[in-house]
Structures are given as C-alpha cells and as structure tokens.
C-alpha cells in the first residue's frame, strides 16, 4: 500500500539525536520569538488589540495573496507568492506527516498519493521562488535590492534546504522504487541520479542528515534574521487598521521608546526590500535619508533603550546588531522626512514610517538640545504669534485689506462658510494669491462666507509634524474653542495640511467624554468646494482658455486624503484647457519637498533639490502651466521654476488663480501680485 516509512535506515540512536537537535532548534526559535514578543508587549503599554475584520482582510489580501507585492513589480509578486506558498505547503506537509505518525495514521493509499504530489509541488514552488530571488538579487541585480550577508544566507540556505530535500526523496525512491511513487514526480526525477549508485543507503543517510540539519538550523535562524517577517508581517498587516494603538508615547521623556506597538512590529516586519527607497523623495534627491535606513536606525535606537531581562537582551542585541547597516543616517536626519507618505503607498507590510519619524522627533523635541534652529524658531513663533513665519500677529489679515472680507471673529457674520486661510497663505506673499483668487470665486458664486481675520489661530500642523505634541494640543484647543464660540460648523481651508489636520488628527485619538467631544465641524479643502460649485453651476467660463497644463498632487490632499479627481475635474471643465499628466501622478506623486516642516528648515545636503526634480518633470510634459492646490507646493515649485531656469517656459499657478483667469473675473483692485500679473499677461 502506498505510504511512507519514517526514519528509513536511521537507527534509534540517530532518531534520538535527531529529536535532540530538533528540540534545540525549536528552543532557539522560541527564545528568539519570545525576545521579540516581549518587546511588543512592552510597547503595547497596556493598550488592547481589538478584533477588526478590515485588518484581517488586509492580512488575507496583502499578506497571503500578496497584492501589494505584485503592485509595481510583478516578478517580485510571483517570487514571493511561490516562496510563501511553497514554504507554507512544505510546512503543512511536515505537520501532516507528524500527525500521521503520532496521532492517527491516514497517509496511506490514495491519500498518500495526493499528499506526495502536493508536497512535491510545494517543494518545487519553493525552489522556483528561491531561484527567482537569486536571479533578481544576484544576476539581474534589481537596484533596490541589497546584497548583504543576511540576504545571501536567507536565499541560499533556503535553496539548499529545498534541493537537499529533493535529493533525500530521490535517493529514498531509488532504494524503494515503488510504483505509486511516480506521483512524487519531482522526487522521481531526482531519483534518476541515484539509480546506478552502489552505496545508495549510505548516501541516503548522509543526505538525510544534511537535510535535517539544514532545515532545523534554518528554523532556529528565522527569528534572528529578516525571515522573522514571516511572523511579524501578518501582525503588521492586521494592525494597519487599529486606530487605538497607532499613536506613540504621549510622554516620550518618561518612556524609553517613543514608538507605538504598530511601529515596533512594523520595524520587525521590514525585510529591507527597498521599495520605499525607490519612491522616497529625500532619498531620490540624494539626501542622507531613506525610510529603510530610518527603520534600521529606529529599531537599533529603540532596542538599545529598552529595559529587559539580560538573557533576552543579549539575544535581542544580536538580532539588532546583525544589521549595523551601511547607511550614515543619524538622529539629525530624522528631520529630512517630508512625511509625504510615498513609502507607505508601496510598503508591503504597511509600515507607517512618517508616523514613526514623528515619534522619533517627539523625543528630540522633548530633549530640546538637538532641534534644528530654524524649526525651533518657527515653533516658538507658532506658540507666541500663531504662525511660523513672522514674529507678529498683526499681519495675518493684511492679505485681504482691500477685499473687504467679513471677519467672523469680529461678529461681521453670520456666514455659512468659514474660510480658514492658514498661516502660510496669510503670511507668504506668493501664497496670498491663492486666497485672493479663492475669495473672488466665492464672491462670484454668491457664497456667504467669512474669515477669522487677525484672530485665526494656527491649526497646529507644523507642531504635529515636528512631534511637538504639547504645542499641537494647544493649537487644537485654540481652534476648537474659537470655532465653538463662533458656532462655526463648516470650514474650508486653503492648505491640504490644515485640512488633513482638522479632518483626521483633531478627533482621531480623542478620549471619549472629553470636552472636545461635544463639538464637531465639517471641514473641506477648497478643491472640494470648487468641485461642488462647478457641479451646481456656480462656476461659468465665458470663453475658451487655450492652455496646456499639468497637475501636481499635493501629498496631504492626494495620498493622505485620496482627493485625486476633484481638482482634475475642475481643471478639465475649463473649455480649451488640456490636462497632461506628469510621470509621477496621483498616488505616486512626487513631493515638492515642503512638507514635514521642511519649509521651515535650512536646505539639506543632497544632490538635487526635490522641488527642482519635480519642476523638471512638469516641464517634460510640455505643459505651459503647472497647477497645484497647496500653498507649500506653490511656493516650493515657484522657487524651483526660477532656480532651475524654467521661468520663461513654465508657470506655477494655484488652481484658484487658474479659475479666476478662466472665469474672467475682474481683479478687485489694481494691486494683484506680480506673479498674477505675469500669468495674466502670458495666459492671454
């Protein structure tokens, strides 16, 4: 009857030795896992993980099926799929053999035939996957992949395990040569090499022990290498949708690690696949920052500061030091991150690197001694003067001196809509054009609106990005109390940053029952308002505007809030205007370099400026105008347009400015800014 004899030709002494080594390997495996889980539990800080079906489906779709892995790199997806299912299949086969041997025997007859075919298929998948990995990393040399010792060990060890497995099977079949074994199709093939061997029993023993030792040691190696992602990545995928545990330490100076559980597990899930390095604008500009390097740095920093039992700490130290990393990333480079979120968009384990960067910044802010000096001044200004730009509160409403905009804070309302202008749009000359145009469009559409005038606070975005948690809370309270005093229920912002902060960060981590809980308001970015006005027919275009434009997606509008279509539909509604896309668009948009508080820091050392890279891409489309919908992007791109020498062929405009031009609204007074004037002249 078709079945398999365990420990064929291995004497009882050998079997005992095998079990001894197996026990040792499993002990090492468990110890490694315990040392990691210990840290996980510690960093959970008592917060509970709740059942969440979205998290589970994320695990299924992006973990087991590997959708993220296929995206943008199909061959990597196939490779991982083969490895994952080959590995899982072999694991299942071994488990079945164990059940068959210890619990009840069922692997016989036709079941055994199906089983052996299944196991062989899994083995082949694994070997195929490993070979693909070898080819991709060592022959094809895909740029984002590294060739470190650990990478070498992981693939070649697994390859040896796979091949030795088939060799054992082949030599066994050569000896047994039963007719049903033709279903072990791969083993059958391997057995050809053994048929003429005179000493196949001895060779079999050698092969058997090689395979056993390779496999057992491989298991022991898993938790001490990047292979640990086999366990950590599913956890990371599941936690993606757990809002309760996503925030890091509130009081970082008291905690040894500033990171949240989700981030810690994310660090452990990272295999250094390098997808983030490919898309990171800072790495792309040749700066000393890449999400991958940050993760290695953060994991090291975090682990060094953790208090743990000495045995675990030693094991854990080895784990961490396995990868000293060749990067020169240091603590000062955490300020390079623009928080553009491009890395999360491609990360197969959904590691929220920008959140982790913020948590790392929190610690630097609370320690105080290494805060970049410009940023420190900007934060002080936010605290005292409610804006990061200038040490004055007086100038905030100057941009609309001649526009006669109702000041809601001075009871010049009531108005349906509160236009929250924001610090940059209020204070920065170029960005003021955005506000002036938007006001004209709202007026033209007869919308009842007002601003908060001089009393408008900072939304706290700058503090939030810098990890200045206390200042963020303070600004949040300022805004909420002003909004609730004035009974403001509908807010529109100039900046996607204010929009994101209001919409997603004011009420996300709130304790139930707190005062802010009582009050809520609707917030929209101006693109959403423009889109609505267009749909309702409040925006009309009297004549054609023959213009070729391209659209730059701001990170906080696009990737963060998935608003890709509204601005494009508004642009395309203008008769005569043709919209061409840049190479990086929508969720793959390239950051202008102004986010994550980079706007308020010194230029960082790199090969090129991010904004100049972006403006070159815009120029490559052949468009005459690049449209954006964020005051920071507007400033960055406008500067880049000049410094990169595209001043004569390309103009940077805010969407409002384009609309005012297309709607042929008469300028309110003769003092429109120089930029506006130039565009008007050029556009005609």
């Amino acid at each position: 009857m078709p079945q398999r004899q365990l420990f064929l030709n291995i004497d009882s002494c050998g079997v005992s030795l095998f079990y001894f080594i197996a026990a040792l390997a499993v002990a090492l495996f468990l110890l490694g896992i315990v040392s990691r889980i210990y840290l996980w539990v510690k960093s959970a800080k008592g917060k509970k993980i709740i059942w969440n079906s979205e998290g589970f489906s994320n695990f299924l779709v992006n973990g087991l099926l590997g959708r993220r892995l296929f995206k943008g790199d199909f061959s990597a997806g196939i490779m991982h799929f083969l490895l994952l299912w080959g590995f899982a299949g072999l694991f299942a086969a071994t488990t079945l053999v164990a059940i068959d041997d210890y619990l009840f025997s069922f692997l016989k007859g036709n079941v055994y035939i199906v089983f052996s075919a299944f196991a062989d298929a899994a083995g082949l998948m694994l070997i195929a996957g490993v070979l693909m990995a070898v080819i991709r990393r060592y022959l094809q040399r895909v740029p984002r992949l590294e060739r470190r010792t650990e990478d070498f060990l992981a693939v070649f060890w697994l390859l040896l395990v796979g091949i030795s497995g088939f060799a054992v099977e082949g030599s066994r079949l050569a000896v047994q040569n039963a007719s049903w074994e033709k279903w072990s199709f791969a083993g059958q093939f391997f057995s050809m090499f053994f048929t003429h061997s005179g000493n196949s029993a001895g060779l079999y023993q050698f092969l058997w022990w090689s395979h056993a030792l390779l496999s057992l040691l491989f298991i022991a190696y898993i938790p001490y290498s990047k292979l640990f992602h086999i366990l950590a990545a599913p956890a990371s995928l599941y936690l993606e949708k757990q809002p309760g545990i996503i925030s890091g330490a509130e009081d970082v100076s008291e905690e040894r690690s500033p990171f949240s559980l989700r981030e810690i597990i994310g660090f452990d899930s990272c295999t250094r696949c390098g997808r983030c390095v490919d898309v990171c604008p800072s790495a792309g500009a040749g700066e000393r920052f890449a999400p991958r390097d940050f993760i290695a740095w953060a994991r090291r920093e975090f682990s060094l500061n953790m208090d743990m039992p000495s045995l675990l700490s030693k094991i854990h130290g080895n784990f961490i030091n396995r990868d000293p990393g060749d990067s020169s990333l240091t603590e000062e480079n955490i300020w390079n991150c623009t928080t553009c979120m491009a890395c999360l968009e491609v990360c197969p384990v959904f590691l929220h690197t920008p959140d982790a960067v913020r948590d790392a910044r929190k610690r630097v802010i609370e320690e105080g001694t290494k805060v970049p000096s410009f940023l420190s001044q900007a934060l002080k200004n936010v605290f005292k003067y409610n804006n990061p730009w200038e040490a004055t509160k007086k100038k905030r409403a100057k941009w609309c001196d001649d526009l006669d905009v109702p000041d809601l804070s001075a009871a010049e309302g009531p108005a349906d809509l509160c236009y929250f202008v924001g610090c940059t749009t209020s204070m920065e000359t170029r960005a003021q054009g955005l506000a002036r145009s938007f006001v004209q469009i709202l007026r033209n559409a007869d919308i009842s609106f007002g601003t908060l005038g001089k009393k408008e606070p900072c939304c706290g975005d700058i503090a939030r990005r810098a990890g200045e948690a206390g200042l963020f809370e303070m600004k949040k309270e300022d805004c909420i109390s002003l909004f609730s005093d004035l009974e403001i229920k509908d807010v529109v912002t100039s900046s996607p940053h204010c929009f994101h902060t209001f919409a997603n960060e004011y009420f996300s981590c709130q304790m139930p029952g707190s005062a802010e809980d009582q009050f809520s308001f609707r917030v929209r970015h101006y693109t959403q308002v423009l889109h609505e006005l267009l749909e309702k027919g409040f925006i009309k275009f009297p004549s054609k505007l023959p213009l070729k434009v391209t659209y730059h997606d701001p990170c906080y509008l696009g990737r963060y809030n998935r608003i890709f279509d509204a601005p494009r539909e508004v642009i395309q509604a203008i008769p005569g205007v043709t919209l061409v896309e840049m190479f990086h668009n929508r969720e793959n948009s390239l950051c202008c370099g102004g986010g994550g508080d980079r706007m308020w820091q010194e230029d960082m050392e790199g090969e090129v400026k991010m904004s100049e890279k972006r403006i070159r891409e815009a120029a490559d489309t052949g468009a005459e105008v690049v449209i954006t919908t964020c005051p920071l992007c507007l400033i960055m791109l406008e500067d880049a347009c000049k410094t990169a020498g595209f001043e004569n062929e390309l103009r940077v405009m805010d969407l409002n400015e384009l609309l005012v031009r297309a709607m042929d609204i008469k300028a309110v007074s003769g003092d429109e800014s120089m930029a506006e004037k130039e565009i008007f002249a050029a556009g005609g």
Partner: protein, 279 residues
C-alpha cells in the same frame, strides 16, 4: 543623555557644582514695531509678547550643561511681576532645579544697582559655586547687574564669557573681546560670570516640558522679606533716572522706500545698481 543614563553617570563621579542664574523677563521686540508712550517714559507694552532675556537664556543653558556634566543644582532667580513666573518655568523646563521670584512691588523704576541689591540679598544666603547673569538685558541694556553683584558679594568676576571649562580647583573661562580676540582667564570658585550670547545653543523648550514643571513650587520673596526699605530700591535706590524715550530721527544717508512690494523692489534694485553693487 537620557534620564537613566544621566543617573548612572552621576553615581560614578560626584563633583557637584551649584549654580545660581539671575534672569529677567523682557519684551520680545524682534519684528515688533515699537511705539513710545505719550509721556516718553517707556515703550507701549500692551501688544508685546514677553520672553526670557536672550543673554540669560544662554546663561541658563550653560548652567544646566555644567550641572549635567558635574552634578549639582541650578537655581534661577528673577525680579518681576507675577507674569515673570513664565521665565522661571521656562528655566525650570530647561533643567533648572529651583526658582526664586522677588516680587516687583517697590522695585518700579529700579536701575541695575537697585536690582543687584535685591539679588544680593537673596544670593548671600545661598550656597553656590558660580553665579551667572546675562551680559546685558535686551530692554535696558545697561550690563551692570552682574558686576554690581560681584562687588557686593566680594567675588572674582569675568564678563562677556563665551566658554567655561571646569578644572580641579576652579574654572578657566574665555572672554570675547573686540575683533574676534579672546582672553583666557583662570578663576577660583565661587565666582560671578556674565554670559555672552553664542556660548552654546540654548535648547528648545517644549510645551510639555513647561507643563511638567507647572507644579514645581516657586519661592516668592518680597522686598520686606529681604530687609530692603523703599529708599534702598526702586527709583529712590537707583543712581540713574530715565529722562526720555525717543525714536531716531530720519537722518542723511537713509531713504525710506514706500509703495507696493514690486515698486519697492524696483527702487531698491535701482539704488544697488547705481551704487555699483550690481553689474
């Protein structure tokens, strides 16, 4: 250095250094357009924000750094109204351990001498190795308090200090002199130093940092507690009296540009071109 590392470090070597830093709250005038009140006795303070005097901020930072390395205690002292508690909290958040506030009542119109008298009364009962003040304050800018204090305490002093090194039985300081020259001095302790800006980079003080020291008790003392009569302090106890505040008159060689930004930029570019600054 994190807290637990610091602790471990301090256990290794105990060579405490107690430092008293005298600080002052001043109006922040960076970008503010100052106006003078109608009587010409002071600037208009209503719309102004207040902060720790810049030089004093450097002094607090330097004191905290010396403490972090050597151990010991930093005490900050100020003379001012209840709002000046803010600068004490600021210093506590930076790492100072204790704070003393001398109530302003009776001290109105004090000059450097009168302020120094009050500080002296507080300092004489404290044990310290070093007293630090800023070189000067950004509002009155007299630069006297530190040296008066040294005289009253009868201690060696150094002004314009831009570097402090701790030695076995004293300190070596660098003083910043004209044209980038520096003087190196060896001093015994205790001593009085007036600290120059640029000696360090003062740390950022976070809102949470301030909140954490909110409950630290501030030791309040009045002129009476210090045994000072009204003739010792305020304008009576001062040797200077202020006559008048004024804004500078527009003189020759200055030209104010007006109009829109574009117009002003054009004019400015024209002037630079005319003077040969741009080819």
């Amino acid at each position: 250095m994190r807290a637990w590392q610091k602790k471990r470090y301090l256990q290794l070597e105990v060579r405490n250094m107690n430092i008293v830093v005298c600080i002052k709250q001043v109006p922040e005038v960076g970008d503010a357009e100052l106006e003078i009140n109608r009587d010409g006795t002071d600037i208009l303070r209503e719309d102004l924000e207040f902060e720790i005097n810049e030089w004093d901020n450097y002094a607090v930072e330097e004191a905290v750094r010396l403490k972090e390395v050597n151990g010991g205690k930093v005490t900050v002292v100020t003379l001012g109204d209840e709002d000046s508690e803010d600068v004490l909290r600021h210093a506590l958040a930076m790492g100072a351990d204790e704070a003393i506030q001398i109530e302003e009542e009776g001290f109105e119109g004090s000059d450097g001498l009168s302020i120094a008298k009050a500080l002296y009364r507080v300092l004489k009962d404290l044990s310290f190795d070093l007293v630090m003040t800023g070189v000067q304050s950004s509002d009155d800018g007299m630069g006297q308090v530190g040296v008066y204090l040294a005289g009253m305490l009868d201690l060696p002093y150094a002004t314009l200090v831009i570097k402090i090194e701790k030695k076995e039985d004293g300190i070596i300081v660098n003083r910043e002199l004209e044209a980038n020259t520096q003087e190196r001095l060896e001093m015994t302790l205790p001593a009085v130093l007036t600290i120059q800006t640029g000696i360090n980079t003062p740390r950022y003080v976070s809102i949470m940092g301030i909140q954490k020291v909110r409950k630290v008790a501030i030791n309040e003392v009045s002129a009476e507690d210090l045994g000072l009569d009204s003739e010792d302090i305020g304008s009576e106890g001062s040797i200077f009296s202020s006559l008048h505040f004024s804004m500078p008159q527009l003189g020759e060689g200055a030209e104010m540009l007006t109009g829109s930004i574009e117009k002003m930029s054009e004019q400015a570019a024209g002037i630079i071109r005319d003077k040969g600054g741009m080819s």
